[in-house]
Assembly symmetry: C2
Homo-oligomer: 246 residues x 2
């Protein structure tokens, strides 16, 4: 199954100025598409850190998304960071430059420095592919599985969804129980079920916000047969405290 | 300044079942306390991955918080992961065992297996300190700067706040402007200011959700003199598009 990792780039997330909306959204979309999100990291706008983390992401995933740091200002260093990850330089893409000029030449007709800053967005790592997907004037810049997406949530989502048809996953089926038994009380029963059906991922999540305290037991699997048997088994061994979902 | 890193442990976050509330909250608290949050990583419930990421966190920060994976069920492997990070084993803490027994003996009087599962929470990496902070029956387990916190947001917050007096930071002062000029138009002025006042961190954040599109320029610094001059300078060079905050 394709594995996905995300590299969220931005001092503004680490300083608490902005809450990252992209990684929770990505987690949910990957889940729906049947892709396994295996790692998210949030890092500052520093070229060397971006390079290191892009490589760490590629160590564990075939598909990597970066978020943020792709604008025209001094704090936008993601392109340089991805280039450093691959040990290549930045090159001006004639195709991107043309797309940018077409879009913005009028706006910067009287502002040569502004135009020149805007065209910095056409400087990308050597050897990238441009994915012209969705209804966007600017393509996704991709290299070796790394998809360089903007941090602005609206644009991040549009670009991801434009490219989503490229990623072939198999969604997991999901079951859940909620019980008033405590985690220690059910721990052994869960561990035994997990041992018996390793293709089912069993999770246990206590809730202490309001009484009665409860535990939600989740089952996720791509193995329908095992999921069905494991679900029946847990329904029977957890029956004492089960909360009727109705 | 003390640097902080967070290791968020949980399949449920990566699968999108639960949105991580702890890292945004931590970012905001670190900001208030004047601690520099430099890295957040979200990883699955796997001992080797936890061990690797705890070490990577310690490479860049003096203070590390883990979130999640500390309960009594089979998917709670954070203690084992932190132990592996330090190359030590798990040992039963008599002090924790006593605290747990005092709290829960009645509840599990008829359930030896439940009691035994609950006492797994007293198995911690060798050589930990127990920080009895705040109004909690269970201490923070700490080793070499790594503070092992629960994933349940309410408990994460209580434990962090109990220990916060240990972390001596210096808050940054913050300024911001919002302008209707575009990022490319102001990029050069920002870059020049950044070069001139390196002790001020200048950020630039475009907003495309509603018209007029705007850019928010932020200034953060612990250097009050530089911040004051840089703020005056930017107020003057950005004056064309500035939006009155009132």
């Amino acid at each position: 199954m394709p594995r996905v990792a995300a590299v969220i780039i931005g001092n503004e997330v680490l300083s608490g100025k902005i809450v990252d909306q992209n990684s929770p959204w990505l987690a949910s979309r990957c889940h729906d598409l049947g892709l396994d999100l295996v790692r998210v990291v949030v890092i500052p706008d520093l070229i060397e850190v971006i390079a290191t983390e892009v490589n760490r992401a590629l160590d564990v995933a075939e598909i990597v998304f970066t978020s943020g740091g792709v604008g025209p200002t001094h704090d936008d260093v993601t392109m340089a960071g991805v280039a450093a990850a691959f040990g290549v330089g930045l090159v001006r893409s004639p195709e991107l430059e043309a797309a940018l000029r077409e879009r913005i030449s009028d706006r910067y007709a009287q502002d040569e420095q502004g135009l020149s800053s805007a065209l910095r967005m056409a400087d990308i790592p050597e050897g990238c592919e441009l994915l012209w997907e969705g209804d966007l004037f600017f393509p996704i810049v991709e290299k070796g599985g790394v998809h360089i997406l903007p941090g602005v949530p609206k644009l991040f989502r549009m670009k991801f969804d434009g490219a989503a048809h490229r990623f072939k996953g198999v969604p997991m089926a999901h079951r859940a129980f909620t019980t008033t038994e405590s985690e220690p009380a059910i721990a052994n029963r869960l561990a035994q079920a997990q041992d018996r059906w390793p293709s089912v991922e069993i999770g246990s999540y206590p809730q202490y916000d309001h009484k009665p305290w409860t535990v939600t037991v989740t089952l996720d699997s791509r193995d329908d047969a095992a999921l069905a048997i494991c679900t029946d088994h847990l329904a029977s061994v957890l029956s004492a405290g089960l909360i009727d979902p109705s």
